[in-house]
């Protein structure tokens, strides 16, 4: 113990050496060190010895502490000796020291007090030194201290003493000590020098007591155990060193308080901007340094941020450590951030190093495994395994206020870049052991981005530990691991299957997904994601992504998300709108898929079926369907025929009367038609028209054909034919009665054709087709109807046409044969007729007539009629259906076939965008079409005219108003338009189900809002006429001429905006209006109704009625079937 005192002294002397304020120090020493020593002069009463044992424990503890303090003290003073204020600190220290030493002294006095000049022997409990000779000052390699106190001789040698009064520090209010001094002085008889009194002059003397001597009247010195005092509090035991911290200033030792923080466990997928935004909330960021993998460039999820002040960094650490990063999209779930101070970036370095090592180890391991397995497996991938910050800490730790917060997490699990989910749950110290396993797994998941098949092999440690018992029991797993509620996808974690069971699980999942989707019944959106993205995206993100649409349920299986909707068209719209956006910072590919049929599960079960069973089943189904169809056919064709005839007769009468009224109305219309600009606006797919000229029938048929099973064909086709006939006929009669010029050649043509082949089915108006129709078989069939035809046709042309529908009913076989006779057989490419062509022979059975087109139909019909039980020996493979959809190339392949025309109808079978339309059209056209065009086309034309005029009038009115009000109103109007211009709607063009390209709304558009202006070159009508011809010759499929008024046309073919891409619809959601702004006419498309996100923008083209029909493919319920 004494040695320590000595140390203290020695150190103090060093202070002097270093030229401190000597006075201050001395004073300090005097006041605090000397009194300490004076304790020793106390008399040594025996009872002190009793304390000794009790104190031993204390002593041990305190000794350690004192020792520690001394070290620090020394350290401190070495560096900051020359400053004034440090003395205060010293002071502080010594006060503490005083306290501790007090105990030592107490211990020490149990031994005979050694002379101060000798080296003191340590107390018996002193652990460091031996009792006989003190060890050399082994803690410090400092030069031996000069003797201190320097002049010990001024005190009597060999005696303990205590200064009981020092006027410099003690107050002597009642003059007791002064009196005592006087008293002592008085008792001093012999000499002038009283050893007990020192000092210069009166009132400045100190009073010392030696060896407990007292004079009478002086209070007896008594030993008191301070611990026995009632105010004594036992201090709590300390388990660790107590540290003292000081406010940092420029003179502090060590590094400054850290202003930088190291953030770990961020999702590597979080964009840096977001991180920066979040962390800049805590203070001004002076540097921001997200860490990336040097090899792969992958973010490590570690960010080093330097704030401007320590306070900001502190706030940041306090607020964010252990919290989860914002719950925004794309965050790995359950990740708690590790935010630590890292003033000098040493932790960052350590973490990076650790990562490197992990990677290295992972690679080594991989290599080793490869060697062991001797199987060429996947190449090693960089694997960042859990890392920990090494314990070896920096000096900065001494200045870390949040040390306690830091300590428990001194081994940080730095998350591997690729898999943000594996750790964070597993505390790394504990997982250390299991690391090889972990690594292997991580490798798997890292690889899964490249090899999706391995995707599901990224398991949790628990799953991998139990692969065996899972493998053998697939049923168990499908029941336990399959997500129970179809509407909710299980959490990604629980869904991650183990190695052994992933196969079953995957199947189970996809089965449930398919089930759920099939139950939904509408189209769904499939989001394909690569491995990493798949994991980091959660269901909520997906829901949020689709929040604008009515989502029914969100499902997932091993590599895709499926989103089903509550309405039928949502999927398509969603795919349209969202395909250009990113989900959780991943670009995603969205595809709208039709609902899965329940055929899929059947296929899955198929393994248990024998081939015969399947065939049997198929045969049963077919026969059942055929039966139903046959019944339907019989009622429709045989029974309904008479009914139709009656109706048709009635209609004919009406038409006749109408035709008589007609001519006056049309005259005004003619000039426009003669110019070739057939109405307000027109847009003709030229190729279609061309083809139609050749074979409109051929074009019509496949529209129905590709999708329908064979037996259903005849009725549909027939109905279709009927429609065609009716439409064309009515239109024609319209024209005939209205247009004198047209009237002349038409009947002549017809007459010629009828003369030429009288027995010919009169539906055919076009000579070309007539020529083709030469077919003996048809003649025979037609013979039965011939008489009727002849009678009526002889009477009147119009009447002849009128009775056509019922002829048609019986002539269906003939129409069916029309396209078989290959209109285009001259060219290399035959029409898209199913192969092989059906033999045109007809069974003699009268019942079959008009119902069955060919052998096949007949065969099936008979089969269906005969009985269900008569099992089919062989059923023709149902491949006909699929084959029908595609042309079979005669030459064998598409390239060797050369160019041939593909109609839009055909395309609908395989061009994804058209698929939707084809289904709609088929369901709609046959039921809707009859007789509607009569009124609608005519009224449309009239309406269009009226509308144009009306708008004109409105404009004029507005202008008049504007004039009356002055210029302001007009200005307002134009301003309004300009405003509209600037507030452009967000639109996007993409492939459309209606025609090549279409325009889609990328935002909601309210009714009445302007959508877009139809921009193009404004040209005169004559110019437009010429251009149209040029365009047709050049084969520009679509015409983009939009008529403004009698004289002007907007041509957007070569110059224009998106407005030209808007398709026609018979049930449009927009209207085109012609408005005049500053005397300039503009075509503006306004929303007619509220347009939802992703809806295609359409308006009615209002084409005039023409003979060359352009089929409408809008697919709406109100579709008129034709554009014109």
């Amino acid at each position: 113990m004494y040695r320590q005192d000595q140390d203290l002294h020695r150190r103090a002397s060093r202070l002097i050496q270093h030229r401190i304020h000597l006075n201050l120090l001395r004073q300090f020493m005097k006041h605090h060190l000397y009194p300490l020593q004076l304790i020793a002069e106390l008399p040594s009463p025996n009872h002190v010895r009793d304390h000794h044992n009790q104190l031993k424990n204390h002593h041990h503890r305190h000794h350690l502490q004192v020792h520690h303090h001394l070290q620090r003290y020394h350290h401190h003073h070495l560096q900051k000796y020359h400053h004034h204020h440090h003395l205060q600190r010293c002071h502080h220290h010594h006060l503490r020291l005083h306290h501790h030493l007090h105990h030592h002294k107490i211990c020490q006095i149990t031994r005979p007090s050694p002379p101060p000049s000798k080296s003191p022997s340590p107390p018996p409990s002193e652990p460091v030194a031996s009792s006989s000779k003190p060890p050399p000052p082994e803690f410090y390699s400092l030069p031996p201290p000069p003797p201190w106190p320097p002049s010990r001789s001024e005190y009597p040698a060999g005696s303990n003493f205590r200064i009981i009064y020092d006027p410099a520090i003690d107050k002597d209010r009642d003059g007791r000590f002064r009196a005592l001094i006087e008293k002592i002085r008085a008792t001093q008889v012999d000499g002038t020098d009283e050893p007990r009194i020192k000092g210069k002059g009166k009132g400045k003397e100190t009073l010392t007591r030696y060896n407990g001597e007292v004079i009478e009247g002086e209070p007896e010195p008594t030993t008191t155990d301070p611990r026995k005092a009632p105010s004594f509090k036992k201090r709590p035991h300390r388990d660790a060193f107590h540290e003292i911290r000081y406010e940092y200033d420029p003179n502090s030792t060590g590094p400054p308080p850290p202003t930088a923080v190291l953030i770990m466990n961020l999702s590597p997928l979080t964009p840096t901007q977001q991180i920066r935004r979040v962390f800049s909330a805590h203070g001004r960021i002076s540097s921001f340094d997200p860490q990336i993998d040097m090899e792969s460039g992958v973010a490590l999820g570690i960010v080093f941020i330097r704030y401007q002040t320590h306070e900001e960094a502190k706030i940041c650490v306090e607020r964010t450590h252990g919290k989860k990063f914002g719950t925004g999209m794309g965050m790995a779930d359950g990740e708690e951030l590790k935010v630590v101070f890292d003033g000098e970036g040493l932790k960052l370095k350590a973490v990076r190093k650790e990562l490197e090592q992990q990677k290295h180890r992972g690679r080594e391991e991989k290599r080793r495994k490869e060697k062991e397995a001797k199987v060429p497996t996947l190449p090693p991938a960089p694997i960042p395994a859990p890392i920990s910050i090494p314990k070896a800490q920096t000096p900065s730790s001494t200045h870390t206020p949040a040390q306690s917060a830091w300590r428990p997490s001194h081994q940080l699990p730095a998350r591997p870049a690729h898999i943000p989910y594996t750790n964070g749950r597993l505390s790394p110290p504990r997982s250390r052991r299991a690391q090889p396993v972990m690594k292997a797994k991580m490798m798997n998941s890292a690889l899964s981005t490249r090899f999706p098949a391995v995707n599901d092999l990224a398991p949790m440690s628990s799953s991998s530990s139990t692969p065996i018992h899972t493998r053998g029991r697939p049923s168990h797993h499908s029941s336990t691991h399959a997500p129970a509620p179809p509407s909710r996808s299980p959490s990604p974690i629980s869904r991650r299957p183990g190695q052994g069971r992933h196969q079953q699980q995957r199947e189970a999942t996809s089965a449930t997904v398919i089930d759920a989707l099939a139950k939904n019944g509408f189209e769904h959106v499939r989001i394909d994601l690569t491995g990493g993205a798949m994991i980091s995206i959660r269901e909520e993100d997906v829901c949020a992504f689709f929040k604008d649409f009515k989502v029914d349920c969100v499902l997932r299986d091993h590599n895709a998300w499926y989103v089903a909707f509550q309405t039928s068209d949502s999927a398509r719209r969603a795919a349209m709108v969202l395909s250009s956006r990113t989900l959780g910072h991943h670009s995603v590919t969205l595809s709208a898929c039709p609902p899965p049929s329940h055929a899929a599960p059947v296929v899955a079960e198929k393994t248990s079926w024998t081939k015969e069973e399947i065939v049997q089943k198929a045969a049963d189904t077919i026969v059942k369907e055929l039966k139903v169809l046959l019944e339907k056919d019989i009622t429709e064709r045989v029974a309904a025929a008479d009914l139709r005839k009656l109706v048709a007769d009635e209609k004919a009468k009406v038409a006749e009367t109408k035709a008589r009224e007609g001519p006056e109305m049309v005259n005004e219309q003619r000039p426009a038609e003669k110019r070739g600009l057939k109405g307000l606006s027109f847009r003709k797919p030229k190729r279609i028209r061309e083809e139609e000229a050749k074979a409109s029938v051929v074009e019509e048929v496949p529209l129905v054909e590709p999708e329908e099973p064979v037996p259903v064909e005849p009725p549909k086709k027939k109905r279709k034919k009927e429609v065609v006939a009716k439409v064309t006929r009515v239109a024609e009669s319209d024209l005939e009665s209205e247009d004198e010029e047209n009237l002349a050649p038409e009947p002549r043509k017809r007459a010629v054709s009828e003369v030429r082949d009288e027995e010919q089915e009169p539906v055919k108006k076009k000579p070309k087709k007539d020529a083709v129709l030469e077919d003996d078989e048809q003649h025979k069939k037609a013979l039965s109807k011939k008489k009727v035809v002849k009678k009526k046709s002889a009477a009147k042309v119009i009447v002849d046409e009128v009775i056509r529908p019922d002829e048609l009913d019986f002539n269906v076989p003939a129409t069916a044969n029309i396209h078989i006779s290959k209109v285009e057989s001259v060219s290399r490419s035959p029409s898209p007729v199913p192969e092989p062509p059906r033999p045109p022979s007809l069974p003699p059975d009268p019942l079959e007539q008009g119902i069955c087109d060919d052998d096949e139909d007949f065969y099936f019909a008979r089969l269906a009629m005969s009985s269900d039980s008569s099992s089919v020996s062989h059923v023709s493979p149902p491949t006909t259906d699929t084959v029908l959809a595609f042309r079979k190339h005669l030459t064998g392949s598409a390239r060797t076939e050369g160019y041939y025309k593909i109609s839009h109808a055909e395309k609908s079978a395989y061009v994804a965008q058209y698929a939707l339309r084809s289904t709609n059209v088929e369901s709609v056209v046959p039921t809707e079409a009859p007789a509607q065009p009569v009124t609608s086309s005519r009224s449309n034309r009239a309406n269009a005219r009226r509308r144009a005029q009306g708008l004109e009038e409105i404009n004029q009115v507005q202008r008049a108003v504007a004039l009356s009000k002055g210029e302001t109103a007009a200005a307002e109007l134009s301003i309004k338009f300009n405003q509209l211009q600037t507030r452009k709607k967000h639109l996007r063009f993409a492939r459309s189900p209606i025609h090549d390209w279409g325009l889609y709304a990328m935002e909601r558009i309210a009714r009445g809002e302007m959508v877009i202006e139809y921009v193009g070159e404004i040209i005169r009508a004559q110019v437009a006429d010429k251009r149209e011809k040029v365009y047709e010759r050049q084969g520009i499929g679509s015409s983009y001429l939009f008529r403004i008024d009698e004289d002007l046309v907007v041509d957007a073919t070569k110059k224009g905006n998106l407005g030209r891409l808007i398709n026609h619809s018979c049930d449009p959601n927009c209207t085109a209006k012609i408005i005049t702004i500053n005397g300039e006419k503009k075509i503006v498309i306004y929303a007619k109704q509220d347009i939802e996100l992703g809806d295609e923008i359409t308006y009615d083209y209002h084409f005039p009625i023409e003979q060359d029909k352009i089929p409408c493919l809008c697919g709406s319920a109100k579709c008129r079937g034709y554009l014109n």
Binding site: F451, H889, R895, R991, Y1031
Partner: protein
């Protein structure tokens, strides 16, 4: 009145200009030297003028003299495509008879036959290492064949209609295909998955090809459009459209990828500077009205453009002068497929039903 002024194309200015280089990326005047002499003008600029004498002299020397050396027969239906392997040792042929055959380019022997497609094959392509073949078929699939294992490695499904054309990128990790479903698809070869579907055209896609570094894709279709795509993003960078909008039957990048060579079914082959969207050369003389004929650059001897023709001949043009240097006769039906050898003066051509032969033409 109408649109004659819209895109000045393939006019006289285009045809008289010299193309600095089609093959090398350094704009050397290799091609020019063949037919012209450089006059160093006082102002330091070089003026190129054709020198008649030199032309005759040199063209006599450089005129290709291809003659048939082997006639290979084996296919039973019209042959749709021919491709030399990158090292030139093998020739792959595909035909409507659903087969892909491999021939020795130097001996004419048949090496092997790949069976697997269920419909006729439209096109075939070699990977850059010569290890894999990709064939596009009417059965809507693309099959990857390994020459090592001699079997189908992968079947790529996704096209909803006939797959018409196929090509590897130079690294051969991607495959680009086009088909009758009017889409261009980019496939990851290793995973056998479709990476991108470009809703490229409104008619069947007739040719797709990567440029020399794989950054661009060019596609053309029966709608007459040639589109250039960014291979990375799938964005359409440029659309080249002819005024007359003829059906485009084949398109490919020049070896240095500075130009594209397009064949259209108006019996014309055009060389486009796609950066300036300008037609720089027009080659005519052959017949192409119906089929999607292949067109090739031949760079082993001079710089030629080679194409088959529907008049059963093969035409060889001088790239610079656009003059027909040689017409190869021998086939008895339209010559659909043609291929030029990468290193030697060899050409391969194949004809349709009436002929069904592959002819190897040598100029050595």
């Amino acid at each position: 009145m109408a649109v004659e002024d819209n895109c000045s194309m393939n006019g006289a200015n285009g045809d008289t200009s010299q193309i600095d280089a089609v093959v090398s990326n350094e704009s050397s005047d290799e091609g020019v030297e063949e037919t012209t002499e450089d006059h160093h003008l006082p102002n330091g600029r070089i003026q190129s003028t054709p020198v008649p004498d030199a032309t005759i002299l040199k063209t006599n020397r450089s005129r290709p003299q291809y003659a048939v050396k082997y006639i290979l027969s084996g296919h039973t239906m019209a042959i749709s495509s021919l491709k030399f392997s990158p090292d030139g040792t093998m020739l792959a042929s595909s035909a409507a008879d659903k087969l892909v055959k491999l021939w020795d380019a130097y001996s004419g022997e048949i090496l092997r036959t790949f069976e697997g497609h269920t419909e006729g094959v439209n096109d075939v392509a070699w990977s850059n290492d010569g290890e894999f073949l990709a064939s596009a078929s009417d059965d809507k699939s693309i099959i990857l064949w390994s020459l090592e294992t001699n079997s189908a490695v992968k079947t790529l499904l996704g096209h909803t209609n006939f797959v018409f054309c196929v090509n590897f990128n130079p690294r051969s990790n991607l495959l680009v295909t086009g088909g009758y479903d009017e889409t261009v698809r980019v496939w990851d070869v290793a995973r056998g998955k479709s990476l991108k579907v470009l809703p490229a055209h409104s008619d069947p896609v007739t040719a797709v090809s990567f440029n020399h570094d794989g950054t661009l894709i060019v596609s053309c279709a029966m709608d007459g459009l040639i589109r250039i795509w960014d291979a990375e993003s799938g964005q359409c960078l440029k659309t080249i459209v002819d005024d007359d909008n003829p059906i485009c039957s084949h398109v490919k990048f020049s070896p240095n990828s500075k130009f594209i060579l397009s064949a259209t079914q108006d019996s014309t082959i055009r060389l486009w500077d796609y950066q300036k969207t300008r037609c720089v050369k027009t080659y005519t003389g052959h017949t192409n009205r119906t089929y999607c004929l292949f067109t090739c650059f031949s760079t082993t001897q001079g710089l030629y453009v080679v194409s088959g023709s529907e008049d059963a001949k093969i035409y060889v043009w001088d790239l610079q002068s656009r003059e027909v240097l040689q017409v190869l006769e021998g086939h008895r039906d339209a010559v659909l497929a043609i291929a030029t050898h990468p290193v030697r003066n060899i050409m391969a051509s194949a004809s349709m039903e009436k002929d069904l032969t592959i002819r190897l033409w040598y100029d050595e």
